[in-house]
């Protein structure tokens, strides 16, 4: 048994030794690190960002989320790119011509637009990528964005063929696309990552070219240097990029830290250059004035189910909607400096006269307790209710949703004298049931996919999978349809103003607040652009 004793002692000593050396290492290497960084700063500008999680996929049409596209947006580039004012500017295309009917766009691709492996970016690369986006076998969740293209929807839904999709390479550097109708926002839509070109040659040789750093071919300001899955990845300046002289950052290191508190702590120790605001710290950080706030095109709202009592009645719906105090909600409940929402389309869209859509459309449904009470009474009379049927408010399980749901419950009780029951369920089940119209009144959100009010409004046409209210209005449907075909911007905006009014007049929804992006950023870092619609922009970023 001596052996066992000896063994135990030996293991203990080994551990003690290991612990000692680890500690010593920790001390000395930390010092080295600090030195290395200050020396590096002079030669190399490194941006340390956090991606939160492993990107879903760097295959452009597949990774339809922020964790994939925030970084992909800087590795690749479409025909256009959004500038600091969120307008589409020439990118891979140096110029374009639009036909008289506004439906055909001819893009001229830059001669010096190259892939990181030295290949030319050609019109064929775009034809290949866009047809692939629409290919039903690609199963891209973003394919619907390309339904503007003639033949696109038919091909994607299996009714047409790839040859009928109206995209073609006129010559090596000229790309032509025909749309189903003139779309003022087309140039902004195609800055979206799903419209990025794909190097056809590379993709045919290796269909999984996007899965690893060493096979990834980029055409954007940066290229992928290293990718340790689930851990971190590194992008470096792409010297083959046509505008590489205007890229000032040498290296961007992306960590994958999923915990908001850890992210914030790494930001405070300088391991990260930006951070989200952890909710428990929000109040203090806002007070200190460290937090930056930027608009995001999207809305947090609630959906009524107009097929279930009592919300088949418009007056009862409106009564509930008017009983909600959005201002109180953002000031006392969410406390994240969101803008209260009294309409559905968010701020930031300018009509041809230069008016902001939201401002001109005005407050379409605004807190009014007296009127709410009156409408509830009227609605109950119309439905011959002596007692209002029981109302259950459903939300998907999360602390944030819970806070808002409880505040709503309180508001309905105080302002209408109605006791609303709360229910919550896991988000995946919630989504299925909401689509199946199983709830009476439920939590919803929408983030715009492209920068135009129509993207908000088209959700509520009859039969849209985003409708989820059972609400249907012929006039509204027609207005959306006409607006999509209208070439005259002024008329188009008039239709959209009218459509929004119809929507909120019928009140199948209760707007709560518009989304925003709040973040902390190292004071030495400049030029990172966060678009209201779109993905993180690092092309013009710089670090002192």
């Amino acid at each position: 048994m001596k052996k066992l004793t000896v063994l135990l002692v030996a293991v203990m000593m080994m551990f003690a030794l290991a612990a000692c050396t680890a500690n010593k290492d920790a001390g000395s290497e930390k010092k080295d690190d600090g030195k290395g960084k200050s020396e590096e700063k002079k030669v190399e500008k490194v941006l340390n960002l956090n991606n939160g999680q492993e990107p879903t996929s760097f295959d452009p049409p597949i990774g339809f989320d922020a964790v994939s596209w925030n970084s992909l947006n800087n590795l690749m580039e479409g025909l256009t790119r959004l500038d600091e004012t969120h307008q589409p500017k020439e990118a891979t295309a140096e110029k374009w011509d639009v036909s008289a009917d506004g439906k055909t766009y001819t893009f001229h691709i830059r001669d010096n637009a190259k892939w990181s492996n030295g290949d030319d970016v050609t019109a064929d690369d775009f034809v290949f990528a866009w047809k692939r986006l629409l290919d039903p076998n690609t199963s891209s969740p973003a394919a619907f964005l390309a339904y503007f293209i003639e033949g696109g929807e038919a091909y994607n839904t299996g009714a047409g063929s790839a040859d009928d999709v109206k995209v073609k390479a006129v010559d090596k550097k000229t790309f032509e696309v025909t749309l189903i109708s003139p779309q003022a926002y087309f140039l902004s839509v195609i800055s979206n990552p799903c419209f990025f070109p794909i190097n056809e040659k590379v993709a045919k040789e290796n269909p999984k070219w996007f899965a690893e750093a060493n096979t990834f071919v980029a055409n954007g300001p940066y290229k992928l240097a290293e990718w340790n899955h689930d851990s971190d990845f590194t992008m470096v300046k792409n010297d083959k990029y046509w505008d590489t002289k205007n890229v000032k950052i040498d290296k961007v290191h992306w960590a994958m830290v999923d915990d908001p508190t850890t992210e914030y702590q790494m930001y405070t120790t300088g391991e990260l250059d930006t951070s989200d605001v952890p909710s428990e710290m929000a109040e203090k950080l806002f007070k200190d004035g460290d937090v930056k706030v930027e608009d995001q095109a999207g809305e947090y709202f609630y959906r009524f189910n107009v097929t279930k009592a009592p919300f088949q009645n418009e007056n009862i719906r409106k009564a509930f909607a008017l009983a909600v105090d959005q201002k109180q909600m953002v000031e006392l409940v969410t406390k994240n400096q969101e803008k209260p929402a009294y309409g559905f389309v968010s701020y930031g869209f300018k009509d041809p006269e230069g008016n902001d859509f939201r401002e001109k459309s005005g407050d379409l449904i605004k807190t009014d307790v007296a009127k709410a009470k009156e409408l509830l009474k009227k609605g109950m009379e119309e439905e011959k209710y002596t007692k209002l049927p029981e109302v259950t408010l459903t939300y998907s399980t999360s602390d944030q949703h819970k806070k808002i749901a409880e505040a709503l419950q309180q508001m309905f009780k105080e302002n209408l004298g109605v006791d609303v029951k709360l229910a919550n369920m896991e988000s995946s089940v919630f989504a299925t049931d909401q689509k199946a119209l199983k709830f009476q009144f439920s939590r919803s959100s929408f983030l715009a996919d492209y920068a135009d009010p129509i993207n908000f409004l088209e959700n509520f046409i009859t039969g849209s999978p985003m409708n989820r209210t059972g609400w249907s209005n012929k006039e509204f449907d027609q207005l959306i349809k006409d607006a999509k075909l209208e070439k005259d911007e002024k008329k188009r905006y008039e239709m959209m103003y009218k459509a929004e009014k119809i929507l909120l007049d019928a009140a199948p929804i209760v707007p709560i607040h518009f989304y925003n992006q709040v973040y902390l950023q190292n004071k030495n870092v400049t030029g990172i652009v966060r678009h209201p619609v779109g993905y993180l922009e690092l092309k013009g970023a710089d670090k002192k």
Partner: protein
């Protein structure tokens, strides 16, 4: 002995098969689908996706296909991360979790044993109370609280260690400490209890009477017997620690496999749910086998093949 192992092996496969079958049908009976998100894809695309992952086939066919692939150790593609397979994910995540878990176990075992033994030897003394208060703290402080406190104190306030991520030895210190306190406390308390029991036994008195040195008594006679309950818990403890812990890995941004257990269920990523469950079960079953073998080594009175012996 051979016959015993053969029997155990068969039992292990049957257990594993039952777990696979149970998990497979349970997971498909939970409402929700991998393609259900706030944003809706149109029906045609959804059908394509379902066809691609064979989710449109009858459940029993999917089950058959899954078993067929599993025999070839093919755990299938991930639905959420379409460019990766479950084999890739586990192949990358497990070594990291294993490394973290191994160090954690070593730290927990050594410190737990020392605390437990010392406490038992100084029964009802100050050292005993001190050791047991440490143990009670270790059990009652959840590891995510421990982790946050450690980060705040030893990385932010006193910048000795980096906050998070997994790239060098000093990155490992805090997560190991945070993860080890719980198991350490369990081991310490178990060791103390069973040591106390063993120390009152007659053969210990005999050993003392023989004039053996206290060190010898403790290590040769007492600890060996006292270890049995510790070894029992160590099996399942090791299986869960070695396959990663969701919370600690999330807080420290460690690229282990802990997150797959939770994320896969939230995402209804069926192949990943199956892959992690099968993998975890296999490790757990293997650990339990190791525990049984360890019994025999520690205590010759326990025969693994009792029936044959008769």
């Amino acid at each position: 002995m051979k016959a015993y192992f053969f029997k155990r092996l068969i039992a292990m496969f049957i257990t594993l098969w039952l777990i696979i079958t149970g998990t497979f049908f349970l997971m498909h009976s939970v409402p929700g689908s991998p393609f259900n998100e706030e944003r809706t894809t149109n029906e045609a695309i959804q059908k394509n996706l379902e066809a691609y992952y064979q989710l449109d086939k009858p459940l029993i066919v999917q089950y058959g296909n899954y078993l067929k692939a599993l025999v070839k150790f093919d755990l299938g593609p991930s639905i959420k991360k379409s460019s990766q397979t479950v084999n890739d994910m586990l192949g990358r995540g497990f070594p990291v979790s294993f490394e973290l878990g191994m160090y954690t176990l070593i730290v927990a075992l050594i410190s737990g044993l020392i605390l437990g033994v010392v406490a038992a030897l100084r029964h009802n003394g100050i050292i005993d109370y001190l050791a047991m208060s440490i143990a009670v703290l270790g059990i009652s402080i959840p590891n995510f609280v421990m982790a946050t406190v450690l980060i705040q104190q030893l990385a932010v306030n006193l910048p000795i260690f980096p906050v998070a991520t997994w790239s060098s030895p000093q990155h490992m210190v805090l997560p190991i400490l945070a993860l080890a306190t719980g198991p350490m406390a369990i081991i310490a308390r178990l060791t103390r209890t069973s040591m106390l029991e063993v120390l009152t036994q007659d053969y210990i008195k005999t050993a003392k009477a023989k004039g053996l040195s206290p060190v010898k008594i403790v290590f040769k006679h007492a600890l060996r017997n006292a270890l049995l309950p510790v070894v029992t818990v160590l099996g399942s403890l090791a299986a869960s620690i070695l396959t990663g812990t969701f919370v600690i890995e999330k807080i420290f941004a460690i690229p282990g496999m802990g997150k797959y257990f939770v994320d896969s269920i939230n995402n209804r990523d069926y192949p990943v749910i199956m892959g992690t469950t099968v993998f975890y079960s296999a490790i757990l079953i293997f650990m339990l086998l190791l525990v049984d073998i360890a019994y025999g080594v520690l205590d010759p009175r326990i025969k693994l093949h009792k029936k044959e012996a008769k």
